[in-house]
């Protein structure tokens, strides 16, 4: 069976590099499933989990936005930060979720509110990916 090469790169270095059977990612316009031989595509990603199917098993990587570049044999995901499920510091994520929730409850102007919302999303995404409930 054909496979796809997946690269997930961040400014701090590559996070994931392997052969997989299928990729499922969340783009701005909905979920996208990528199989080998996909037409060249570029799509922005939202904060969420990228699912990588390999030999019947699934791996998850938490990505914070960025975009995916698809070529028939190769998929690159470029994002400002990404973590493989096993590398997630879940205690830190829980802490930042708490902080973001507090900020959302307090009175804040629009920009602070947006920022807190984003960081809440990121933290929840990390926790979800870590616990595998996607």
């Amino acid at each position: 069976m054909k496979t796809l090469t997946v690269n997930i790169v961040t400014p701090d270095g590559p996070v994931y590099d392997s052969q997989v059977d299928m990729i499922i990612a969340k783009t701005a316009s909905g979920e996208i499933g990528i199989l080998p031989g996909h037409i060249p595509t570029v799509a922005p990603l939202v904060i969420g989990a990228v699912k990588l199917k390999k030999d019947g098993k699934s791996e998850y990587v938490a990505v914070n936005g960025g975009f995916v570049e698809v070529r028939p044999e190769k998929v690159s995901i470029l994002t400002q930060s990404a973590e493989v499920a096993s590398n997630i510091d879940v205690a830190r994520a829980k802490e930042s979720m708490k902080r973001a929730e507090q900020r959302l409850q307090g009175k804040a102007d629009a920009t602070d509110f947006n920022r807190a919302e984003l960081s809440l999303k990121r933290a929840m995404n990390r926790i979800n990916v870590y616990e595998g409930n996607i």
């Binding site: 701090d12 316009s29 060249p40 570049e69 930060s81």
Partner: protein, 286 residues
């Protein structure tokens, strides 16, 4: 001539200083290694993003994205990347001089430009000069991660987008090799010099549209440029601190050599004098 004890004291203190500078040199050498590794880890990200940006920006011929087009310049922003500490030779002063010369040449009043400062030395300089420093980051670790400067990079790019200023320049030291680096001025925004490699411009499908992707991609690209400059700057900071400390150690060794010579000469003179005195004394007794 200074007394024997004075010279001895000088030798000991110079030795102590040279031990410190030697240690700092070795610390910087290992930090330089790590910094080079970081810079290497960043390369694949940058190449990829450049490739895609190039492919998309040239693919959409109308290319009217605000970040790609120059507009009349009313206000300019400068992002100056320096170190937090001194003892790095001319590292900080080179960057600061280049930036402040350029500013003095281009602008007649302080209202025409704003400063972003990464690094304490640059910030202090511009704050003291009364320039309008609107953002700063200090106390960055020696091996910075992207999240350390995400906030300032996002602000710098965001304020260009919302029209606070019309140009963004970066000043940093470009790492050439362990013994040389050069101050570099780079225009970050607008992104007018996107290089396109021939043959890589695969015709992509855009989901949902090329414009929507540029909306996400270009800020990310500009922010990565800033991070790349920071990594470059850090590497050359460590390199320059290393060579500054090396020459300090060398100077100390020279100084110790000279002082030892003086010390020995003085010691010998003292012995000769003592012998003369003894001989003189004995002669007087006969």
């Amino acid at each position: 001539m200074a007394s024997l004890r004075d010279i001895k004291g000088k030798i000991t203190s110079t030795k102590k200083t040279s031990q410190i500078t030697k240690a700092m040199q070795m610390v910087s050498a290992s930090k330089l290694n790590r910094a080079e590794e970081n810079a290497k880890a960043y390369v694949p990200y940058m190449t990829k993003i450049q490739e895609v940006v190039g492919a998309i920006a040239t693919g959409t011929s109308d290319g009217a994205h605000p970040m790609l087009t120059s507009r009349p310049v009313k206000k300019t922003a400068y992002l100056v990347i320096t170190a937090d500490r001194g003892l790095a030779g001319a590292y900080n002063s080179n960057i600061i001089r280049a930036a402040s010369n350029a500013i003095a040449e281009r602008h007649s009043s302080k209202d025409e430009y704003v400063i972003f400062a990464i690094g304490r030395m640059g910030r202090d300089f511009f704050v003291k000069r009364g320039s309008n420093v609107i953002g700063d980051v200090i106390g960055l670790p020696d091996q910075p991660a992207f999240s350390d400067i995400k906030e300032i990079a996002r602000r710098a790019v965001g304020m260009f987008t919302d029209g606070t200023y019309d140009e963004l320049y970066m000043y940093y030291n470009h790492f050439v090799s362990a013994i040389s680096s050069e101050v570099t001025e780079k225009k970050v925004l607008p992104l007018t010099d996107i290089a396109v490699e021939k043959g890589t411009t695969a015709s992509y499908e855009f989901d949902p549209s090329a414009e929507a992707i540029l909306e996400v991609l270009l800020p990310q690209y500009a922010e990565s440029l800033i991070f790349g400059a920071l990594l470059d700057g850090k590497a050359s900071e460590h390199a320059m601190r290393m060579s500054a400390m090396k020459s300090a150690t060398d100077n100390a060794t020279d100084l110790i050599g000279n002082l030892t010579l003086v010390y020995n000469r003085a010691r010998q003179a003292a012995i000769t004098q003592e012998i003369t005195e003894i001989v003189g004394g004995a002669a007087a007794l006969e």
